[in-house]
Symmetry: C2
Subunit: 206 residues, 2 copies
DNA sequence: AACACGGCATGACAGATGTCACGGCAGAAT
DNA sequence: ATTCTGCCGTGACATCTGTCATGCCGTGTT
């Protein structure tokens, strides 16, 4: 087996990215071979540097970490994916694993544990925070249809129904129907509340 | 002058905290003497370990970084403060400096630049991203009154007017008046939009 | 072929929301 | 003492929002 595990880091915050690199470089068997700050640069970097494991953040410009994971698994199957993100939304975990990720770690886990997670992923094991895994199962998949997610996303910045209808290319009445359906499914009594609940559950990719 | 600069790190994400420590420990003249994950542990840690510079995140449980900076300056005047945060909200910069911080750095600045910022702060200089400083001046102080901020904070999770009135201990009519005033000052046409705009400008400590 | 489901749309209705005009009260500034 | 400002409240009004019933279309299931 190879002497060192080659890593790719993807995180939009340069400081965090550099700091993670410094942390991981402390381990003799780990080597950071590439760093990117955008999701749509992941595949190209992986093609160029052939990492064994890619650490991807979910919140990234260009392409979110989940989509980047899917693209990466398709383009460079030899590279395994460990998602490292701020929020442990149940929906994130589920979707990350469906996208082909081997592991899921939140950023408030102890630093000492990260290198271990990387090694396990490199060895072909799955690494998921047990608490998150349970919560993910309990919450279940998103009950929201595509359009319902669309209108919630459009509603996220606080516009009026007219704005939402314009953004989603449907009539105002239809927009209100989708909003109403989403509110029913989330148990919310307000658009804003529905947006918040959907967000917290990871049902909105934004 | 002292051989090494002693540092205190405060960030609620353990992984980021540890990674920053690793990054800064790479510099021969820097030494991380304490790490905490909550704002209300900053002062005690500073008293115990006497750091020269404290790196504080703004978003923290217990006590936000701005308030922690204020408390730290009062309790341990010898320790200078460098705020290191995710969001470069104009209001954050202004309030951080008013709270006695010597510097303000966002987390997507290059990693190489952090050590420099720390050294400058330790030397008694001010360090503020020029772009942020200008934006902060242009945006100006918050035009919102205390109550207006209160109702916006209460409105942030998407409740109804009745919920907001209950949370802020005012009548529904008054709540709507404050909301209306806040919407007028922010140029918003919806509560949710007013919340978003106030957030983006750093006018809501949450 | 019949059916269920999601997306789209319309129309109508009750209730919530945002606006406005008013007035009272306390503290700071003049 | 007077004025100003911010805070609190009431009441009324036009509008927006959320709900419901209903219908059409296309797709995939049975």
């Amino acid at each position: 087996m190879s002497a060192t595990i080659r890593l790719l880091l993807a995180d939009d915050q340069a400081l965090v990215r550099g700091a993670l690199a410094a942390l991981l470089e402390l381990e003799p068997d780990l080597e950071v071979v590439a760093q990117v700050g955008r999701g749509d640069e992941v595949v190209a970097a992986a093609r160029a540097h052939r990492p064994d494991v890619a650490l991807l953040d979910v919140e990234m410009p260009g392409l979110d970490g989940i989509a980047a994971a899917r693209a990466l698994r398709a383009a460079v199957p030899a590279c395994r994916v460990l998602v490292v993100t701020t929020f442990g939304r149940p929906g994130y975990v589920r979707r990350a694993l469906e996208a082909g990720a081997s592991g899921f770690v939140v950023k408030d886990t102890p630093a000492a544990q990260l290198a271990d997670a990387v090694r396990r992923v490199a060895a072909g094991l799955r690494v998921v925070d047990p608490t998150l895994a349970i919560e993910s199962l309990a919450t279940g998949a998103s009950p929201l249809t595509e359009r319902e997610q669309d209108v919630l996303r459009a509603a996220a910045d606080g516009g009026t129904v007219a704005d939402i209808a314009r953004a989603t290319l449907v009539s105002e009445g239809t927009a209100r129907n989708h909003l109403s359906a989403a509110m029913g499914k989330t148990g919310a009594r307000t658009r804003a509340e529905a947006v918040r609940i959907a967000r917290e559950n990871g049902w909105l990719l934004g």
